[in-house]
Amino acid sequence: MSELARRDLVIIGGGPAGARAALRASACGLSVLLIDENPDAGGQVWRPLPAGFSRRDDAQLSPEARDGDALRSELRRAGIECLFGHKVWNVGTDLRTDVIGPGGSVSFRPRALLVATGTTERVVPFEGWTLPGVIGLAAATILLKSQNMLPGRRTVVAGSGPLLLAVANGILKAGGEVGAVVDLASRGEWLRSLPSLVGRPELVRQGIAWQWRLRAAGVPVYYRHTIRSVARDGEEFVVRIGAVDATGAPLPGGTRGIDLRGDAVAVGHGLVPGTDVTRLLRARHRFECERGGWIAEADPDGRTSVVGLYIAGDGAGIAGAAAAGAHGEIAALACALDLGAIDASVHKRERAPLVTQWARSARFGHAMAGLMALRNGAVAGIAADTVVCRCEDVTRSEIDAAVREGARDMNQLKAWTRCGMGPCQGRTCGDVAGALVAAQVGSREAAGFFTGRAPLRPVSLAEVAGDYTYADIPIPKAAPL
């Protein structure tokens, strides 16, 4: 093993939280390395173009693309050391960070590690959710934002939270058709979130524009409805929707559903904080439904229960992109203070305005996180033969049966059913499976969560092994006879 490259701070994730943290930490004098698996910074919200792509017309830039470009040029101006197109596949208890990129593998030994890995989309399963052409709302935003692609000619947009409106509008703007918007929330829930918009005129303007465009296009909006099933009918999908109650549970007698047609479905039921790294390092976690689910315990400055390990942004509990940037900077200041790069008075002075900025942004973000929170009635309403773990084809009834037979927590469930054992390592199914186990064992805390395991991203044996001959294999001494 070659000598590990040292840095003061390694940041995983180049979204708003990670990128702003890198800028702030660097300004404090720390040596910083920013790593992201994408081709550039920006994260999901300010998604960079794929490698080799360029924009034809900068005049048509969305505000998000503009913000993203500004951030990316700020990183370059500040000379922040970045490893894009690289995936962190392992982190050790000494914060050793193993990275694999196009040029092979490289490892770092930072004094502090900041995890700003954002969220994963949650889908509460229904019959047909694994069919090709049924994609996540977040996936739809990737298609729209970074590739200017439509999910289909006519897309049914369903689920919960602000991504519903963002995706429906993105599709209309790009010239596509929206079959309908199917929203788990009621109109009243949206209205109740309005006070969180105080002081955010840009969001009010955007919200009005979005509503206006939907209405102008004649897109039907079904509040308090959910997708019951999606089935193929030739080139099209038949999307059966039905009414639900406030918990997301199908209303009794709601079999009298409505059939919608389209050739694509974009559906998402909120976002789940990415806890892969903090679970791998056995940091303490707590369950907070309104912030997205399990999150690592941390102080307001992002210090986790593991010394040297910090979290920031939506991965630390969902508060939205605007709050994430401020949170990243707050965490960077905490790192700088803890590593002795700045003193307490500088820390206090620089932190105060960021906290104000964070609080203003987080109010709206928290309201949206509440709208996106997992609804237990929706989980209870999953049909018995619906696949929950799509990597391993584990159905709801198989999960329920295993728990009845004595699998009393998530890890025993995983062993008994293979739920969460596939390539996604439970990122997709873990939250919903956890709710199903909790329904029988009493609480999410009792059900627990899948133990974090390396690799954080799949890596091939060839990538890990590198070039070698048989003589290069450090074979230990033989086992006893």
Partner: protein, 384 residues
Amino acid sequence: MSAAAPELVRQPWDAIVIGGGVMGCSTALHLAQGGMRVALVDRGLLCREASGVNAGTLTLHMTRAALVPYAMRAWQMWMDAERWLGVGVLATHVPGLTLAFTDAECELVELRAKARREYGAPIEVISPQRAREIEPGLHPSLLKAGYCEIDGFASAYLTGRAFRHALTHAGVTVFENAPVEAIDSGDGGHVVRLASATRLEPMRARRVVLAGGVWIENMLAMLGVQIPIKVLINQLVVTERIRPVMRTVLSVANGLLSLKQFANGTVLIGGGWQGDGTRELGGVQARPQNLVGNMRLAAYAVPALAEARVARIWLGLEAETADAMPIIGDVPGVPDAWVVGSAHSGYTSGPFMGRILAQHILGQTPELPLFDPARLLGMPMPGA
């Protein structure tokens, strides 16, 4: 946790088995089938330590030579699991090959095959041509291979589910998440005290069986007996599903690789490369240099594996006594107390070892001799 009526809990159990891995589950099951009222107590959930996270290799190549007769009988039990447990563990019979790529390894393959043949393992040493007829994907630089028709694998993660089913049907009462804090032994039997968080009354029993894998050292200490047990922190790696690239169980001459592809297409890479961890903390983390070594060895043996992506890496604790042989028998100096475990390749032989201890406790003659724990009293751990 299976609820038992309070008045039953207060009556002494015929036997309490502490430790719900393969050895403890098998002992409890066979005691219950012998007519005893049995409680099985585990600090966590059934078969969630070594018994549920090991590589599932059912091989004679890597089993200690003297344990071959035990492993062969246990191999049959695993293959027949559905018959005696009611639920299987996907036990699969395929041949096993142990590979030599250097002259020194060729000698080792001959030596290890000969030692195991003396104990009844049908292992022969074959040419690389013959080995590649059996396993076409092997690296062309292969020089020799040990071949054994009796080999195979199970999906170890299903072990707890299978035993849970069998134990329930046999009437064994299972207490999970119930750490034992003390065992008071006297003329009237044993009192097993559980952690206060369990809110369970102390349990009384006529007999107690310690089956705690690497934690047997702590359990024996509760009875005032000192026998050191070494803890190995084995790393395991499983890949995503890939096309069929191999059909046998593979190991290398020195024993430090185990490789098999399951029916679902995933490939499990093990062999006992060491990670970080302790008896107290369990497995903490893999050592990157040992991951690299293990993966290089695997992708060298079967070059097509280079394309496979690693899905998951984890650790399992394996116990080793001072003479690298198991402890199965009477706890020295403590009446009506027994211990079972700390066997190398313990998963392979586990169900049979539990069965012979149960035979001994039930007053029958065990099918094969036990391994008297008293031999280890005062024996220093090599290298310690």
